[in-house]
């Protein structure tokens, strides 16, 4: 079923259509939230809230073409909101890099399964070291595949700024990953074994 019809049915209260929409979008929504928050439990909570909000706001998005970037804006707002609140709480999820290494070598927990590969774990860890705007450019453009124009739209910054940030952000991420690999404990050697 195409997106326009699916959205129309959802707006009319068709529960089956809503279920399909949730199933179609949940992977993307969770990946984005995880990119922002870096914590599995929080991701699941916030992602649920996002779907509840989406359900209530469906009437606001009348153009199916604009649905993806509209949804991304909802996700982004919820994540920034959550991060703002998190700042007010005592830190819990600031796991030092060394601990991450030992986590990686211990038996797999649910969060480990989300990383799937050593490289992805490295990327997530390194993303937390980037500036906010560079992290968002990576999340939206390089991971979610948005165009420069869409990124500029979602972040509400000029297109020129996004263009100049795009390469810079990627380079900074690569440097942060390289630094982690060469960390005090020798990092995650498996991540660079297979070189493309």
């Amino acid at each position: 079923m195409d997106q326009t019809e699916l959205l129309n049915r959802c707006r009319k209260g068709d529960e089956l259509a809503w279920e399909m929409l949730v199933r179609r979008q949940q992977g993307r929504v969770c990946a984005m939230v995880f990119g922002y928050l870096g914590d599995r439990e929080e991701t699941l909570d916030v992602a649920q809230d996002i779907f509840v909000r989406l359900y209530r706001k469906l009437d606001q998005c009348t153009d199916a073409d604009k649905f993806p970037s509209w949804l991304i804006s909802i996700v982004r707002n919820a994540c920034l909101d959550h991060l703002r609140r998190r700042k007010a709480r005592p830190p819990r999820q600031d796991i030092p890099a060394a601990e991450m290494t030992s986590l990686a070598s211990s038996s797999p927990n649910p969060e480990e399964q989300w990383y799937r590969t050593a490289r992805r774990r490295l990327v997530h860890r390194a993303l937390q070291d980037l500036s906010e705007i560079n992290r968002e450019v990576i999340l939206l453009k390089d991971i979610q595949g948005l165009s420069l124009e869409q990124v500029s739209d979602v972040l509400q910054v000029p297109l020129g700024t996004v263009k100049s940030r795009a390469s810079r952000a990627r380079l900074e991420l690569a440097q942060a990953i390289t630094a982690l690999e060469k960390g005090p404990d020798g990092g995650f050697p498996s991540a660079t074994e297979a070189v493309s």
Binding site: C10, R11, K12, G13, E15, W18, E19, V22, R23, Q26, G27, R28, C30, A31, F34, G35, T43, L44, A47, Q48, D49, F51, V52, R53, Y55, R56, L58, N77, L80, D81, R84, W114, T117, R119, R120, V123, I138, D142, I143, Q144, G145, S167, R170, L171, L173, A174, Q175, I177, T178, E181, K182, T192, A194, V195, S196
Partner: protein
């Protein structure tokens, strides 16, 4: 895994010492070009030079290697399977909400009214103008409490009074009530000046932006409180209302954080 024999090592040392005494290491320039190299959009001259640098610089080479695999690894991170439990939890939560048909106005009786009120509030509070109007209403209220003879809050900062100067003349939602209060305040204190209006707009835009997240949150908490009230869960309802109170405080704090209503309006007046 040594790449060079002794002669190469000596050459490399020589190159480094020359660079150290002349231009300095070329790494930052090489790094700048790496995304272009990986994306294959460097001109041929730059490409040759960067590749030559990479052959001799292990530091830049490892960054290039990472950039290389990022190109395939990042897009593969666009989705995460949260599991069937997640889907079930979302569907259970949305099933408890008023159905979309009800939200459109088909639910009758007190429950329908409460739902509609909750939805109305959540939609409204996320609109900048409405949030501004609410903040304004509170300002007017506070002002009345402070300038009336024998008022309990007599002597509040002029900053708050300045907000009243900014009073909206056209209010789509509560216009009539505001206008009445407006006039009372204007007569009582002489604060309502039309000339200030133009200068207020840009200032309001900024304040609207700074309170966006807090407003979003207030909407959610109030909506949550309505839901709990409707299900007769007093404890959770009180908690959500208390959270909404904190949200309102946050909006209030952000709204008045800078005392620039007077400044910006004065500046615009003098520039026009």
């Amino acid at each position: 895994m040594r790449r060079f024999d002794d002669k190469d090592d000596r050459n490399e040392d020589l190159v480094r010492s020359i660079l150290d005494r002349t231009s300095g290491p070329a790494c930052s320039r090489a790094l700048e070009h790496l995304p272009g190299l990986v994306d294959n959009n460097l001109d041929s001259g730059d490409r040759v030079l960067v590749q030559a640098h990479l052959e001799n610089c292990p530091g830049c080479r490892s960054v290039a290697v990472v950039l290389g695999w990022m190109g395939t690894e990042l897009p593969a991170m666009a989705e995460i399977d949260p599991g069937e439990e997640f889907t079930a939890a979302v569907l259970a939560r949305t099933a408890r909400l008023p159905s979309r048909a009800a939200a459109a106005g088909h639910l009758t009786g007190a429950a329908g009214l409460v739902d509609r009120l909750g939805n109305w509030w959540e939609e409204r509070i996320q609109r900048p103008l409405f949030a501004w109007q609410v903040a304004y209403a509170l300002t007017v209220l506070l002002t009345v409490l402070t300038i009336a003879p024998g008022a309990p809050l007599h002597g509040v900062p002029r900053q708050i009074l300045a907000g009243v100067e900014a009073g909206p003349a056209r209010l789509s939602v509560l216009g009539g009530a505001f206008t009445t209060v407006d006039q009372g305040v204007a007569q009582g204190a002489g604060f309502l000046k039309d000339s200030v209006w133009g200068g207020i707009r840009s200032d309001v835009g900024r304040r609207v932006q700074s309170t966006e997240l807090a407003r979003d949150h207030l909407g959610r908490d109030v909506q949550g409180a309505w839901r709990e009230i409707r299900h007769k869960r007093t404890g959770p309802a009180l908690m959500r209302l208390s959270a909404a109170g904190s949200d309102f405080q946050e909006i209030w704090r952000l709204w008045w954080r800078s005392n620039s209503i007077n400044q910006s309006s004065t500046a615009e007046r003098s520039s026009s």
